[in-house]
Assembly symmetry: C2
């Protein structure tokens, strides 16, 4: 088990505009944050070999690669392109030793109003890539996203749905529990228990601000909003989960404008005081 | 059963900045829209007796009074004030012959992060006012709101939760099914079936725009978004529901800026073509 004080990870999207992957690795390590979630565009920019070497040199655990998924598409060509892209993502995740590939399902295909059909495409897509992921030894972490993203980003919107998918798919698939997406769900505690340690592949933290001024880019720092993070963390750790607590904040008007060293420092402080 | 062509109602919030209640009654009736949902501030401005007389003169069915609820509060004084206000709302609903009082539960009390406690306050508040509502003959329509409103507006966020409340409370309580709030829920069809005709007290329509630029005031006209309204309407009517289809659109940058007669005309057209 990672010591409690060392269980902080930061998703590099938290300092996306400020830092490249190399800068994030160095910047996180400089403040002794030894977990990082990596984004594919930043990884490509850095180069996989260089990234893998830097991650190892700095003793970083890669808590996840962001991201696979985005399965629904209007036609077979689009769906195949998504499958191919997911396989590339799995290879990248393996190359940098990521603990999982974070899977964001995708929303409605262009011009579609059929969310049930989109959900079937997600289940089918996951089933297609799963053998490849198993061979690569890369667990797939289905991340249910807040229902406000159902149309354009992710049609898997509750922990219950995500676990149903896991049940249907079998080994090699789990979930990412993100407090931002799930805090409101009255069935969250039961869902976490049902998921169990084996299927909780990642635990993401940030906060829900009141008011929230943008659907996508106004996430808050832990402690600045209304989510009872310690309670949810308690539910997660009651399963036996002993992995990282990964800060993932998209914040165009606030944290993305700050000195990234300050952002890391605040993450460290709030991880101690508000989580 | 109201004839299909006459089942359009409009919530006056759809033309809130443009029209007073008197103007809305006249403007809706002018285009033969005979159902209206009324807001309490507009009702107070008009005067209850005058409003009741105008509604009757124009043959309007009041599909709901908006709104009661808002039960959670930081202290007993605040909770009692909410109960008193709900009783006044029930009296107003009776005075204008509203088919129901729409109940929006309320969010987290000031400084609270305990959504479970807020939900208990909602259940307690409903239980407190229910005898009064029953005596008045005013059904309470619990309206589950989209999870993006859980913190600041309504902590009842799924149809399942709303029906659980109905089950616990007994006769005199039902739900309002609003496609905007519920369209994403994979359990929606089952929830509607479980609610049944007796407990579906209102059916609200509008659309979810992609992108949605404001959490509260960017609802779309039916047909302009991604909600499969005919499908959901089919589920609702399969229960035997034969009431109105009430358009409720909060749209600061679009419909609230248009000529209100045009808004009513578009509601009529889209009710025929997109619902």
């Amino acid at each position: 088990m990672v010591p409690a004080s060392s269980r902080l990870a930061i998703n590099q999207a938290t300092v996306r505009p400020q830092w490249s992957l190399a800068e994030a690795i160095e910047g996180f390590a400089r403040q002794d944050v030894r977990g990082i979630a990596v984004w594919r565009d930043k990884l490509a920019e850095c180069g996989i070999d260089r990234a893998a070497a830097m991650l190892e040199d700095h003793g970083m655990t890669v808590t996840g690669l962001c991201r696979g998924g985005m399965f629904p598409a209007a036609d077979a060509v689009g769906r195949q392109a998504a499958l191919d892209d997911n396989k590339r993502a799995i290879e990248e995740a393996r190359a940098i030793g990521a603990q999982c590939l974070v899977v964001v399902a995708g929303g409605l295909p262009e011009s579609s109003k059929d969310i049930a059909a989109a959900r079937r495409m997600v289940a089918d897509g996951l089933a297609e890539i799963l053998p490849f992921a198993r061979s690569a030894g890369v667990p797939l972490a289905i991340e249910p996203l807040h229902p406000m993203y159902a149309a354009d980003r992710c049609c898997v919107n509750t922990i219950g749905e995500a676990i149903d998918l896991c049940d249907a798919l079998g080994p090699g698939v789990g979930i990412a529990v993100d407090v931002y997406h799930l805090w409101w769900d009255p069935l969250l505690e039961a869902g976490i228990r049902r998921a169990g340690k084996e299927r909780i592949l990642a635990f993401h933290i940030c906060d829900w601000l009141v008011p929230t001024t943008d659907l996508l880019l106004d996430r808050g720092m832990m402690g600045d909003g209304v989510i009872d993070i310690p309670r949810i963390r308690g539910w997660v750790e009651a399963t036996g989960y002993d992995g990282f607590h990964e800060v993932e904040i998209f914040s165009r008007e606030n944290w993305w404008r700050r000195d990234p060293d300050e952002v890391v420092a605040v993450c460290r402080e709030r991880h101690r005081t508000a989580c």
